[in-house]
Symmetry: C2
Subunit: 336 residues, 2 copies
DNA sequence: CGTTCGTCCTAGAACGTTCTAGGGCACATC
DNA sequence: GATGTGCCCTAGAACGTTCTAGGACGAACG
């Protein structure tokens, strides 16, 4: 048993004592910066290994003015946020940054999540599809750089990285029209992030093709989609539907099929997000893919640019979406 | 612009200077511990408020020996992990602890996730459904208390909090048999955490009812379920199927219905997890619910008990599951 | 009047790192 | 032989907290 305590975590000083050098030198070796001979480096490494030394992030961050730490706020429910978090980890690692996560849960709101991160010395915040109002985000941005992902924010203070959601739905509509559809309905996402853009994209595309827009209330869950499907079944069926997101599309598909309607036979359906569920062989939903790789890379880069004081040209970076055609869309039936 | 820098984050010293007291006193006020008069308390609070002071977690944790921090490793893809994380936040808060999250992603394995947490001075680790081997977990447990949730581990070193997965499937089988089913097939989860227990529960229950067990390979994704369904369709359909989890059940349901088989008309189906998707009106899947509240509460409590050196009676805590009957199970058709 | 005891407060030392200055020392250069 | 000039290395001061010892002051007690 060590004289200082039963299971005290080993420190730089312990390693230094064992290797017979100063703590500063150990620090140099551990950080892999120049200033130590190969022989000593080896010796220090071995000593550290032997006593199971792990650098203490807290102390490290406390000392160095830059923490190289990015705070990420994400929704624990959102499957798409999971994808984004994955991408962010990779992007952050590439530039030598770490991530601290803070989850938004049904009981833990965004404010709490952000407050947690603020105490952790993050240099910047990346917030995924925030629900907070513009003013709250702007206030936050006065403290530290804030990058919002997958939602647009009307504030000069925060940076935004998002998909061109209007284009996404336009792609879907164009695809459907090219297949021969003339009667395309949109199921809306209400006040969800991105819903307004997608709605606009739908309207523009439909008008461009000289068709009449028709928008049904929807939402972001399967239940919302199911409700929309029931509304749809009440009248004459359109030949195609663009749905706010995949989950909603899934609910809609399910109700349509249970009502005996075939997809894509009687109705073509498109989703949005290209989520794992859309890719499943059994679902195989035509969907609009967001470029996670690019969204996350841009978000991290923008945060760093702000930190480095690089002049930023455009506050909002918009990434083009991509249509992934699968088996829920086909030419309309030759009838009527 | 302040003399010390353009946007330095305010510290205890800044608050102290403004309120005309010592830093120690400010610390006392901020922590809400006795040792300051009401008047000064008020004055310090106001000063802190005015300059927008936020305590620095890093420094705070560095100084105090106990960090009151629990590390949580979770899978960013797993919907159920999301539920558990929510519960953990709540449970930790109740006992005055904070959580630091570390995600496992396709590119970031468990080892990396754990390493990140170890540097963060967590007092204990809570690992959700780990894929790591027993020895790796045991090694880890030599460093600090490790609580594994939702998977059983054959090691005396780590604590386990899990659902009685065998009982869960037994509940499902009993329910089906009570409805009149005599031909119940199980779709397996392979090597996924919990799969072995569920398989065993199925076998036991079926034998108890003097029926013949039949187990089909499955997995944890919708695609696995779809494959199992196709295998099922190749021969005479059983009257009921218990599936490893909800996602797999979903894939199975989809393929069955597309093949024109009605559920629960021709086949009854049960899932496992009672995930959000199972609860959807359009899916409405009979499923086995895990008691998230209790799982997370027990996990946090156990971590704390270990830290406090409370003698622990049973290393493994098993929480009973609950069957949620919905519309995918019904009596078998009166034919044959 | 001297002691004892609270209450409120402060000085200064931790905590485990990194960073800034600089100290030796060998080797090359004048 | 003096002077640079590298390269290794170290002492000691940060970083922003919390914690340990008290100090000052008034009130209560002998």
């Amino acid at each position: 048993m060590a004289p200082t305590g039963p299971d005290r975590r080993p420190t730089l000083a312990d390693v230094a004592a064992r290797a017979g050098v100063s703590t500063a030198l150990v620090s140099i070796v551990m950080r892999d910066v120049p200033g130590a001979s190969a022989a000593t480096r080896e010796r220090v490494r071995r000593a550290a290994e032997e006593i199971g030394y792990r650098p203490d992030n807290r102390a490290r961050l406390l000392r160095s003015s830059r923490s190289r730490l990015l705070g990420v706020v994400f929704g624990v429910q959102h499957a798409f946020h999971g994808d984004l978090v994955s991408g962010l980890y990779a992007a952050a690692e590439r530039v030598g940054y770490e991530l601290t996560l803070s989850a938004v849960t049904p009981e833990r709101d965004e404010l709490r999540a952000v407050a947690g991160l603020l105490q952790d010395r993050c240099e910047a915040l990346i917030i995924l599809g925030p629900q907070s109002g513009t003013t709250a985000l702007a206030d936050l941005a006065a403290r530290l750089p804030v990058v919002v992902v997958a939602r647009s924010v009307r504030s000069a203070a925060v940076d935004v990285v998002r998909t061109a959601d209007d284009e996404g739905v336009q792609l879907a509509v164009d695809h459907l029209v090219a297949l021969g559809h003339r009667d395309v309905v949109h199921v809306d996402g209400g006040r969800a992030p991105g819903a307004a853009e997608r709605r606009r994209g739908y309207r523009d595309a439909v008008r461009r093709h000289c068709l009449t827009p028709r928008i049904l209330p929807g939402g972001l869950t399967e239940d919302d989609g199911a409700a929309a499907a029931r509304a749809l079944l009440a009248g004459p069926l359109p030949s195609a539907v663009t749905v706010f997101n995949d989950r909603c599309a899934l609910g809609l598909l399910d109700v349509l099929r249970r009502a005996g309607r075939t997809v894509p036979g009687e109705v073509s359906v498109t989703g949005y997000d290209d989520s794992r569920i859309a890719r499943l062989a059994s679902v195989d939903l035509t969907s609009v893919a967001q470029d996670v790789e690019q969204l996350t890379t841009l978000a991290v880069r923008r945060a760093l640019d702000r930190l480095d004081g690089v002049p930023v040209r455009q506050r909002e970076q918009v990434v083009p979406p991509r249509l992934v055609v699968r088996s829920t869309t086909a030419p309309p039936r030759r009838e009527r």
